[in-house]
């Protein structure tokens, strides 16, 4: 219930909200619009109605090698998410169910890793990766992304585990089950919605990541966000193709974000707000 009592929706508020919503959606709408324009029309912002063409998407997939970017993104994102969920999920259970010395300090150390500027870790990672010859491979990105995915998983899954009643576990202990068995057989199945939501947030964060991808890859393992470097030159920028790549990049994430809408606030705050 609302603390002020039920507030009504006035005309003015409705109008304001409508404007805000339009402002939020407009850039995406415009990007889709430009991506469907033919070359002659892309530089003319007064044209809003036209017969759409897929030539930009075709060009992007045929000449700009979008399939390779898409594949790299998918490989990196899936691998880092699986590993992070596994390792982070275990740790989250540890933080949720055990009492030990300096627990909160350690948990907040994990949280503080979220604050780390990627620009500070990427320089040594770059030099180290080039020394051992893994620069521009999937593996270097998979490992680097664990740096933010594991802390996220720990905090997010901890908040889900803490919602599962301890009594369930205690009943199983009485029946003679071991701690690990209880974790796998009782806790994990109950935490499946949380695991899925956490995994989707890991996917979104890794998919959107830019700094590591820019520094640590150059041609073989480049992910979709780095395609912006293809369109940096001021003269002769292909707006249509640029928008088409953008649409390809953001659409899967938008769909994922809509799926986890219910957990959006929790995901955005590392499980801090439910």
């Amino acid at each position: 219930m609302n603390a002020y009592g039920a507030k009504r929706m006035g005309f003015g508020t409705g109008l304001l909200l409508l404007i805000v919503c339009l402002l939020c959606v407009f850039p995406m709408f415009w990007m889709i619009l430009v991506s469907l324009k033919s070359k002659a029309l892309t530089y003319d912002p007064s044209v809003w109605f036209f017969s759409p063409t897929l030539e930009n998407f075709k060009a992007v997939f045929e000449n700009r090698n979008a399939v390779a970017y898409l594949r790299n993104s998918a490989i990196v994102v899936v691998a880092t998410t699986v590993v992070s969920i596994f390792i982070g999920g275990m740790a989250a259970y540890g933080f949720a169910r055990f009492e030990f010395k300096k627990k909160e300090n350690r948990a907040f150390w994990v949280l503080s890793l979220r604050m780390l500027p990627p620009m500070a870790s990427v320089i040594p990672l770059f030099v180290m990766a080039s020394l051992i010859g893994v620069l521009d491979t999937h593996i270097v990105l998979i490992v680097a992304y664990m740096l933010f995915n594991i802390p996220f998983t720990i905090w997010m899954m901890r908040s889900f585990f803490e919602e599962i009643p301890v009594a369930l576990e205690e009943a199983a202990f009485v029946d003679g089950a071991s701690r690990f068995r209880v974790f796998v057989r009782i806790i994990l199945p109950l935490a499946v919605p949380g695991l899925i939501a956490t995994a989707i947030f890991c996917i979104i964060n890794s998919w959107n990541e830019f700094v590591f991808a820019l520094f640590l890859t150059s041609s073989q393992a480049s992910t979709l966000p780095t395609t912006v470097t293809l369109f940096l030159s001021v003269s002769g920028v292909a707006w249509g193709e640029m928008s088409a790549v953008g649409v390809v990049t953001i659409m899967p994430m938008l769909i994922f974000a809509m799926i986890v809408q219910k957990y959006m606030i929790r995901g955005l705050t590392f499980g801090g707000v439910k």
């Binding site: 219930m1 609302n2 603390a3 002020y4 507030k7 929706m9 508020t13 805000v20 919503c21 850039p27 995406m28 415009w30 990007m31 912002p45 390792i87 740790a91 540890g94 933080f95 350690r106 907040f108 994990v110 503080s112 890793l113 604050m115 780390l116 500027p117 620009m119 500070a120 870790s121 320089i123 040594p124 990672l125 030099v127 180290m128 664990m146 594991i150 701690r179 979104i204 998919w207 830019f210 966000p225 912006v228 369109f231 940096l232 707006w239 640029m242 928008s243 953008g246 990049t249 953001i250 994430m253 938008l254 974000a257 809408q261 959006m264 606030i265 955005l268 705050t269 707000v273 439910k274």
Partner: protein, 294 residues
Amino acid sequence: MLRQYFHKRPHLVYIMPAILILGILTFVPTVFLYGLSLTNYELGYPDFKFVGLDNFVRLFSGQDAEFWYSVRISVGFMLIVTVVELLLGFWLAVLLDREFKLKPLAFACLIVPIAMTPSITGQIWKLMLNAENGVVNYLLHFVGGKVIWLSAENAFLSTVLVDVWQNTPFVALIIYAGMRSLPSEPYEAAAIDGANRVQIFRYITLPLLTPMILLAVVFRAIDSLKTFDIPYSLTQGGPGSSTEFLSLHVYRLGFAQTGWVGRSAAVSVILLILITAISWVLIRAYRKGVENRG
């Protein structure tokens, strides 16, 4: 013996893998970064030597005007963006905090900027803010206006604008969640005591929302201080170096134009220290707020 050690500390089995991986992934690069910052290592030149604190002396002796300019605009960007997003987000949360039928749709709209890849955000806005062929100026010409959005004078504010577009919904959602979880008793008590709306807001709503507001400030302040993706694709730090935030300065110094990895490592050490200090203060305040509340 090892068995007994783990038997006494059953949590270790669960948290150790994560702590070890994170420890290695942060400790080794950090030590390496500090080491690099003491060298004159240059990309493409295999031999380098330790130059002690030369890189830092150069930064702090005032020879390096570009560095101080980057510090100034980065901190300025952080302050402006955090305050604007907080105010707008709060206002938006108040607007959303009522019952209406299309609420799910409104939330779906708000999620679009949140889920948008930041580098792509910069790119699409670059296209929209183009002075001649951009749609923003096209719409403005109906009311007789024209702005050179990405000129040296306006590029900073345009970056602020894009960041506000991308992140205000995030702040709004957090504060909205806070408003939804407010208890009703204090309000009933205040109504009985005859408090007016301003008093209720000042003495009840604001203190109860403080943890949420702090949380939003933590995330926004830190993330805007290390901003890279949006300015990189929107302005590349330009025109000139008018939007060369610290992260972009590191990038240009070490990788884009010159290969002075040693010097850029020194700058990122400063960035790291700055962020550590700020996040330490903010996280402490947040923890205090949470512990007082719970």
